[in-house]
Assembly symmetry: C2
Amino acid sequence: MKIIENPQEMQSFIKEQKRAGKTVGFVPTMGYLHQGHLSLVERAKRENDLVVVSIFVNPTQFGQGEDFDIYPRDFERDKNLLAKLNIDVLFYPSVEDIYPSNYKTYVEVYDITDKLCGASRPGHFKGVTTIVTKLFNMVLPDRAYFGLKDAQQVLVIKQMVKDLNFPIEIVPCPIVREEDGLAMSSRNVNLKPHEREAALVLSKSLFAAQKLILDGERDGDKIKKFIAENISKEPLANIDYVKVVSAENLEEVKEIEGEILIALAVKIGKVRLIDNIMVEV
Amino acid sequence: MKIIENPQEMQSFIKEQKRAGKTVGFVPTMGYLHQGHLSLVERAKRENDLVVVSIFVNPTQFGQGEDFDIYPRDFERDKNLLAKLNIDVLFYPSVEDIYPSNYKTYVEVYDITDKLCGASRPGHFKGVTTIVTKLFNMVLPDRAYFGLKDAQQVLVIKQMVKDLNFPIEIVPCPIVREEDGLAMSSRNVNLKPHEREAALVLSKSLFAAQKLILDGERDGDKIKKFIAENISKEPLANIDYVKVVSAENLEEVKEIEGEILIALAVKIGKVRLIDNIMVEV
């Protein structure tokens, strides 16, 4: 496994590989890897000649007062995990190389970025689409892999790739959960033991809501209310949002039909967690 | 010369050519080609295995009340000119294929786009950087050629390419002028004969200002005033702006030093013309 820190070196290396006819799979991450990330890597390995994983905690997608400073980081641990998976390149650029002084350019997807997490975290998706554009141009992948825990992010990136004509296939990959149902997240490490217990209320509420729908409930508002009431019973939980939306455009649905996304963001103590489930009826 | 209208076809064709090891030079235009454009094409031919010229009058870079509707268009004429130059691909996409319904993504360079033409034409450069990003992703060039008549555009595109890490070299090319000094522009065709005569006041003022500086004048404000007075003597001319700025960051300069850009935009009748000159002292 090659470790590259310099963006120019990353780009030159890949251009050379592509001239040699290799296909490139890319997994962008913010590090502190869990099995969710590793499942993306495994899939990328199956589908491409060469796999690049990036680790970059992107400051522009964190708002003021958010958890950029305490976002978990452990490069040695991540490096060892990736080396075991035998990936080709670990790309680990510095903030200074990614956003040099005099940096002036942003990529923005409108409309679908105003909803869900975008409503709670203004500017978040602008930071995401900008860094992903930059990483795409540095890594020049044929396929890029994103986890569906960030369902809105997947939708935003797909929209951006389509709109800006990137020659890249976006591959959404299923959420990976702990045995007890908690969606894997690098942020879970910031939960204290009793918070870790309380955090189960997210997945449990989603699974129960899914069951209600499969049992015949079709009223979006009732599902929302059911989940909100469920979560409110947990004293450590503070709801940011609970939404039942179209999986296609994130518009709220009154009458559940077709493919819908139930998405939520909940603060457990100081840790903001997200989770979601897709339901098709 | 291959004519391609479909964006996907454009991208597939180029990917195939690049797999075969060909380098790609790209000249994006809005058509109604003049010798300025053709000089870009000639240079692209010298420096690359394959040359793509696009013709697309990009609606998103025109503001309300601007000249999108009367921007000159003549595809047959352009096609014949390019066929004679023996380029490889003429890319001629439709507005519907470039901005399909449900289009949501824009690329924006901040700061340097607020000045000069950006101040007079809000949103103009956002339209430019968005379409250029899209065209870059469709044509995947190694080098892209831009004329320095749009000096600010060149600076904005260079900033965008650096910031977003596009694997593309931007090649700025000199202004091409008519024999009497008028900078070539597709818009010149919209000038009536007496306006065409009046339009000479742009280049004449710039050349005279250049001479003043080379003769020792170093006061930016005096140069601006000199040009403005010169232009005001022409009854058909209405000044949009006259600026003496740093060629590096477009900040106005009081004391002329290093590489500066004298840039102006002037309406002759209903036709808005721009011109500029670089001076190094």
